[in-house]
Symmetry: C5
C-alpha cells in the first residue's frame, strides 16, 4: 500500500455509473502527482493515509464490481520501531 | 485513479475483437506520455478526466471480458478542500 | 493501454508451457526499454501498436489461463482531434 | 516480488474493516520511499524481506477478500550464484 | 512481460507457506534493481529471461493460489526482425 496525503474532494458533473455513490478524494503523492481514490473512512484534508490499489480496492467498497482501482485503507497516526520509538508521518520522513 | 487530459480519438485499421465496439481515446499524462483508454462517458478533446486501470476498467464496460486495462471514469470539474475553496485542474496544479 | 513499437519476434529454446503456441513479439517503449508481448493481430516490425496489460491480456488470447501479462490490442494508424485534424504516431509525438 | 527493508509497525486509529486484524508494517524501498504491507511472517525492524503485490497478496492472508495489495513473502538471508558463492542483501547490493 | 537477467538463487529461513516449494531466483533489471521470481524453467545464472507479472504468474505455477506476482516465462535466445536479421539480448541492447 502506498502513503499519500489528502488534498480535498473531487467534483465531477459526468461520472461513470460503475462508481455508484462512492465519495472520491484527491490525494497527492511524494512527487506532487495527484491521484483519485474512493474514501470509505471519512478522511479530511491534510490527513496522511495509505491506499489500496488493484482488485483489493474493490473488495473494500463492499461490492467487488465497483469501478475503482484505488481505495483509502486507513489514516496513519505514526509508526514505531522495535525499541518503541514513535515516528510521525511528517513530510520529510515520507517524502525524502 | 490517475488524472489525464484527452488528446483525441484513436483510429486503428486492425484491432483486436476483444475490444468489441468500444470507443478508444488517446490521453496524455503529466509527463507527456500518451495512453489509450476506453471511453464510455463521451469525453471531448481537452477534458481533464480520471481513468480506472486494471480489472476494474473491464467492469466499467458492462462486460468483464472486454479487453481493456484503462477506462475513463469521469470528467473532472474541480476539487475543493474542507474550507470550501475550489481548485480547477489547471495544468500547473496537475502537472507540477 | 500503452503505445509501443514492434522490434521483431522472440526466439526461445526454453519456454513455459503456459504460453502455449502464442506468437511472442519484442517491442520498445519510448524510453528504449524492451518488452515481450503476445501477438494475435499479426503485427510487423516498425508498427506502432497499443498493448493491453494485466488480466485483460489473458482474455484476449481466448483462454484466460494463458500465461501472459501483455497482449497487442491493435495497430495504430493515427488519431484525430475534434476539429478533424489527424496526427500520425510519429516518434516525436509518442516519445516526447 | 520486490525487495524492501522493514522500518517498523504502523499505528492507525482509523482503519478499514477489510484489513481485519492483519499486522501492518512500514517498509522502505531502495529509493527511500515508504510502503505499507501486511505481515504474516513476524518480521523485525531491519530485516530484508521480499513482498508480494496484487491479488497474490490477498491469498497469502488465508482469505482472498482481505483488503491488501502488498504482503510480506519471506525474510531474505542471502542469495547464491551457481558457483556456490553467497551474497548477503547488504544495502549496496540491493540499492545500487 | 519484462526482460531480466538471472543473478542467482534466494535463500530464506522464513518463507510464507503460500509459496509452497517453488524455486525462487534473484534477477536484476536494466537499472540494477533486484527482483525475486518463481522459476519453473530451471534457469541458470547469467540467463536472459522474460518474466510474467500479476495473476498470470500464478497460473504458471499450476496452482492459481500460489503466492507469487512474478514467474519466469522463458529463456531468451535472440530476436529477429522481418528481414531475418537476428539480435542477441546483449546488455547494450536490453539496457540502453
Amino acid at each position: 500500500m502506498e502513503i499519500l496525503r489528502v488534498e480535498g474532494s473531487l467534483v465531477c458533473t459526468l461520472r461513470h455509473p460503475g462508481l455508484q455513490k462512492m465519495s472520491l478524494r484527491v490525494l497527492r503523492d511524494r512527487k506532487g502527482k495527484l491521484h483519485v481514490a474512493v474514501d470509505t473512512c471519512g478522511v479530511r484534508e491534510g490527513n496522511w493515509v495509505f491506499v489500496v490499489s488493484g482488485s483489493a480496492g474493490r473488495y473494500a467498497c463492499g461490492d467487488p464490481e465497483v469501478m475503482t482501482d484505488l481505495t483509502i485503507g486507513g489514516i496513519i497516526d505514526f509508526w514505531g520501531d522495535d525499541s518503541g520509538q514513535m515516528k510521525q508521518p511528517v513530510e520529510s520522513e515520507v517524502l525524502n
